[in-house]
Subunit: 227 residues, 2 copies
Amino acid sequence: MDSNKPDPMSQFAPTERTQVQRLPKRGVYNREEVYRILDEGLVCHVGFIAQGKPVVIPTGYGRRGDTLYVHGSAASRMLRTLGKGEDVCVTVTILDGLVLARSAFHHSMNYRSVVIFGKATILEDASAKLEALDILTEHIAPGRWKDVRHPTEKELQATTVLAIPLKEVSAKVRTGPPLDDEEDYTLPIWAGVLPLQQTPSAPIPDDRLPREIKVPEYVQKYSRQNR
Amino acid sequence: MDSNKPDPMSQFAPTERTQVQRLPKRGVYNREEVYRILDEGLVCHVGFIAQGKPVVIPTGYGRRGDTLYVHGSAASRMLRTLGKGEDVCVTVTILDGLVLARSAFHHSMNYRSVVIFGKATILEDASAKLEALDILTEHIAPGRWKDVRHPTEKELQATTVLAIPLKEVSAKVRTGPPLDDEEDYTLPIWAGVLPLQQTPSAPIPDDRLPREIKVPEYVQKYSRQNR
């Protein structure tokens, strides 16, 4: 069994802070569905407390099994703070569309978001770090790791990798058409959904790339869906 | 002069926490450039402290002049917390592309992000709330406000709107090709940028929409660029 694919029946146990309060029917605790969102997303927003105040920083990430990985320079303030075992909240949001209702009040967005609470640990072991960098690289572009020059010992030392356990996690999902008040459906106002997606355009080869090196298929046919 | 367009020379004064520490050349403090990012983005990530721990929640927003607006149900835990004048950090990130270097180490992303620190205030006055909802609706789809049914008094009461002053703000921007180590440029590895953008697909009319109501031009020709 692929350890990266969770048991489809596995559910996160809601805690006081992951229990979706507002519009609870949008709450999702199924591990498979949560991981599908994490695997499709590209950027997470990492929240932590610095000098008593909240800070939110965007960064890349990767997942394998029940662990989320985040990395950066060993000099990064965020990573140094989180490496001390401070509380962290990591949020991944995928925007799927604009929901244009007949009333201003019922305008909304279709989205899928995951919120993770926990504490991070720093990976110290070089082979664990190397594996995490494989995961982080493959998250950006599956197929890439086998093609690139792997990190040197010096590069590994200059990189801090954090592991965050996927234990206290929930997702929130909105799909479908606008929901207007019954009496507004007769108004002569266009209503519906404008779907949005993150799409690639033509790859831009580096200026110093020799012409004979062709664009790899995983770049040419890049897609975040069906991962 | 359009009060929504800042003086092109206006700069945010960096503070201890908005001074970009890592890769300071990516730091942007020009008000016009920062507002262009805010005006193009659709979702912000709101960071705050609840019961001593960080929480990051995605939500829509809007900007006019030097104020950012966020809204939601009066029952929302986030809005109730922030309405008490707690510290908040709001981050907006636009992903522009994947930066595929020859080495795993130099992989990166092209992005534009804005980080806002401050305290929110609740709008109490009904006309100020109404104006903010105009701004929030126009942020999603410019041209929409004049077409839709405006909020009733009851809807206004059920909506909490927060205003966050754009004072302590910075942006971070990465553009351009991968930057590899000099000795790696001879490696036979494809390198370059895969541009990404949020693109709309065909609008989906609501099932209950009469056929004679046509898709408005601001939906048909929707674009986040050149706003």
